[in-house]
Assembly symmetry: D3
Homo-oligomer: 220 residues x 6
């Protein structure tokens, strides 16, 4: 039998973001598991920021999945709005995960109330709808946005500074005991953020792929 | 100034469903208000039943809206999965409503716990995600599906019978004191269902258009 | 058939408040609908501020309703504590709405988490009981009181200033994306507040009458 | 100092109900505590069943309280709709309790999910509003009505039979592990019901007076 | 029949804490009731602060209970983590209460949203699990820790100052309308804290013993 | 570096249960990961059924962990009451998971509302406390017990029959779309149960070890 893939689909067009995700996946790969393959939706927007971005991304992610069913073991939709997650779950014979859902479930094993560092204020309402749909709002301490677009994350020094400031607010004012990074593009900052804040920090794509690999072995 | 329209968009391709909706809208039209214009997405599926149907419908509804911005006062996405609702709400200068959201909010003025008569079992999980995202699960007594596709609703006698049976279960076993019809295609049955069950019954497109018209007058 | 009325009942004795409500109702009146008639309970207190005020207002509102059943299509209890709402709903043949309930349901179509600008600190606990009874606490970002009695609202400049300050706290500290004015007497401030804060602002009596008119056309 | 009273106010006019309550209070009286004094609102309705009954009872209970402030240590509003509870709590210098609130809080120490045996179906929505306002719906397994008015409780044999049937449904279908009797008039049945069902049964007036006496000793 | 005891078990080894508890119990004792007997688990830790402390205390409390069944009417586990509460409740023939559960239930009769003054930050997550298990998170305004260990409470002046500061934050920022002292060792501060803050303050062991005595009279 | 272990600790004394767990773990082991080592607490009770069993198991599990810190990468407490979970999480340098928590989080990726097949009725209240502490009660469709002790699970034919009956009730009456087996000893039945019911079935120890292995690779 040929090698199967766990496709991690970055629905924005940024190869930099995809590269950051791929680097974060490295520790998760094991012989005997599907290959973790990170891909970019080339004609996606530079960042998934509006509901329009999300809803278009849902179909783009689904289209990618349909085109790769032959060698796919599963799919991860690697944008914090989980575009297409429930669409992917209708496809028989593969397992699909979203990074937002997985990040939240993972955070729930690390502390009683988690805070989310969001990209933009405009995303926070959408996230709350997700926490509501998941039935876990009781576990959400709050969300604070850093006010930077996905593309602006590339300026690492000022991004890290903004993330630390947001994290401090979540810890001090909102009472968060664990943090979730609310964007796949934040992957390179996990360790530095955790060190700076003294709280566990969840990188959402790692959380999703980590859950996916285990379930792929189980086959259910 | 030319006449503005409140577009009620049926995202499935059934003209019968659209005609049923239009009939239900009749009592709501008043001089001085935007015209309630019910339209069919001609290339939509016969019924919105899967998540794939919903997610494609979201973009189709959005495309229709973009093409009719010139004479639109607002939009109602007339499928119980509210496809594209949050997408429509990003469009400046118009007001948008979803029939599922409006039906639930309306039911909350008619009784303490509402029951939903769903089309198919497969839709119920999706509805619960909506009630969760709305933060109102406490008000939902339960859901019971009649196990008939949208197209099968055309057989009125057996549909009504199935709806009454579902309503009885919601009343007796789940403790519902008000019922919501979980499909725009059920509009013709509202009155008969209410008479048979002795509980108020919410027709979701009427609920949405009713709320929309008031808000259009207020302009916020 | 003679003209029917939708009675909007201000249970405090302030004709100024009633006049402010009536002005806010103007855009909602349409030919063919019941007449929106705003009335004052002449022997009510100057403001409904304590639980005693609320509970007495409930019976005063009910008494008014009983005395006007002949020409009433419906009733709106126009105080943010919704005095008598459930009492009015026991009356057959009319539809009744409360401004607090309607404002909250309306806010839920405008943003994910709403903030409430209350009159006095002492009302906030009572409001939370209402949000709890409605099962929507998850959608409430918070409440901030302006610390002014109903009669003090008449000083418009300082009231507006206090409302803007409360709104800013709800937006910045509590994360509200939509605001609800927690008193019928605040009606004249809606537009200025919205302009100042850049968030949608719900005027509760408009919200209630808007919902009531639609439902009266539907007859259920 | 003269003897103070803890007034237990039965807001319906039934002396039989008051006598049943008084009998249930007997084991709670201790030297050094305020005297538990059970009184009847002579001009109350035979049973508190509608919202109108509840709202009028609120003022009647409050009026009684105002007239007895001289020798009152506290008040218990002894109807399961807790008429006037929040009104009584505005009175300085006395402590006030409601039997519904106290029964629920007490049940929460006896099992994880409680079931309520209601008098009439029409009361259940009102009760759910109370559980919602208290923020405890998660602890409510369900409610089942016996379909008998307060006055019909006097037929003890058939009442007990109906209560046992309701209790069995709450235990088997709703998963209740503790039961609350949803009417002060059910006091005489507590022990027999508990023996028949093998679940702890909360008598609400006992629950309220029990809590009130302790708090009166503490003085806060 | 010999005198029965209501054992109030301090699971930390501090006789000072036990003495403070005993003093707080004095107003609750009445002739005819079981004797309120406050005891110290001599080999307990100086303060119950970690989960390890809590889980060991659970078995220590249970062991004490087993050894005193002959003359016990009931038990109160007097540490704010309620160690052993559900263990004690498995013992037939006695009634058992926890001070955390009782304090929360009592606070719910004094205000709509309570704030908790915790000892250490590390306890707050554990408390939130308790509020979640009780299904009452909606009633919790928030928690603020004073950052002092149980033994450091002995320095009364600085402890009171820290408690007032925490209470102010709970009142101003979190909107608490009633406070719960989150440690049995805080008993001596109740009155001064209440006077300083102008909010009702719940002393948890008083709350628990107060509820226990009433229920012991009732015998259920 | 010597091989590290992920210890899966069965806190009951049944080697049969441990063997069943070990068999279920086989598909999860990969080269490069810690060794999945299933152990039995030899002096544990035959089944963890009472709160006393749970609380003693907590300390036994913790003692085992302390004694194996040298070669432990992490611990899984393999009893559905998660004995000692929060105790294990206080130990620095290892990762710890509970099978109940992990099963619930995993079920939340497989369906909107999960049902739990419990061993005994007496465990259900304890489980609800866990779902409450996790803040996920909204996702729980219900629980049904099979009424068999852990040791009686050995009779496979009748156990499977009882599990299928419980699963059918959860599906039909409670509306569950995914099932969780509420005991580590049920591991051998997962596949047969899933085939019989047509719903995904979560085996809790697989869920926990699956999550643990991914997190161990990530090191956070």
């Amino acid at each position: 039998m040929s090698q199967k893939h766990l496709y991690v689909i970055n629905p924005n067009s940024s190869e930099t973001v995809t590269a950051g995700i791929a680097a974060a996946m490295a520790p998760l790969q094991r012989a005997g598991d599907p290959h973790i393959t990170c891909v970019t939706i080339a004609d996606g927007p530079p960042g998934i920021q509006t509901q329009f971005d999300v809803d278009r991304a849902a179909l783009a992610v689904h289209k990618f999945a349909q085109e790769h069913l032959d060698d796919a073991a599963g799919f991860v939709t690697a944008c914090f709005s989980d575009p297409g997650l429930h669409l992917l779950r209708e496809i028989k014979g593969v397992l699909s995960f979203g990074i937002s859902e997985s990040a939240a479930l993972t955070a729930m094993t690390l502390g009683q109330r988690f805070g989310v560092i969001a990209i933009l204020d405009g995303s926070i309402g959408r996230h709350w709808r997700t926490w509501g749909a998941m039935g876990i709002t009781q576990r959400v301490a709050g969300e604070v946005a850093i006010g930077r677009s996905v593309t602006e994350l590339a300026d690492q020094a000022s991004t890290l500074k903004a993330m630390i400031a947001a994290g401090e607010r979540l810890k001090q004012e909102h009472g968060a005991s664990v943090l979730v990074m609310g964007c796949a593009g934040m992957a390179p900052f996990r360790e530095r953020l955790q060190d700076a804040l003294g709280l566990p920090v969840v990188e959402p794509t790692q959380a999703a792929v980590s859950m996916a690999l285990g379930r792929l072995r189980l086959g259910w």
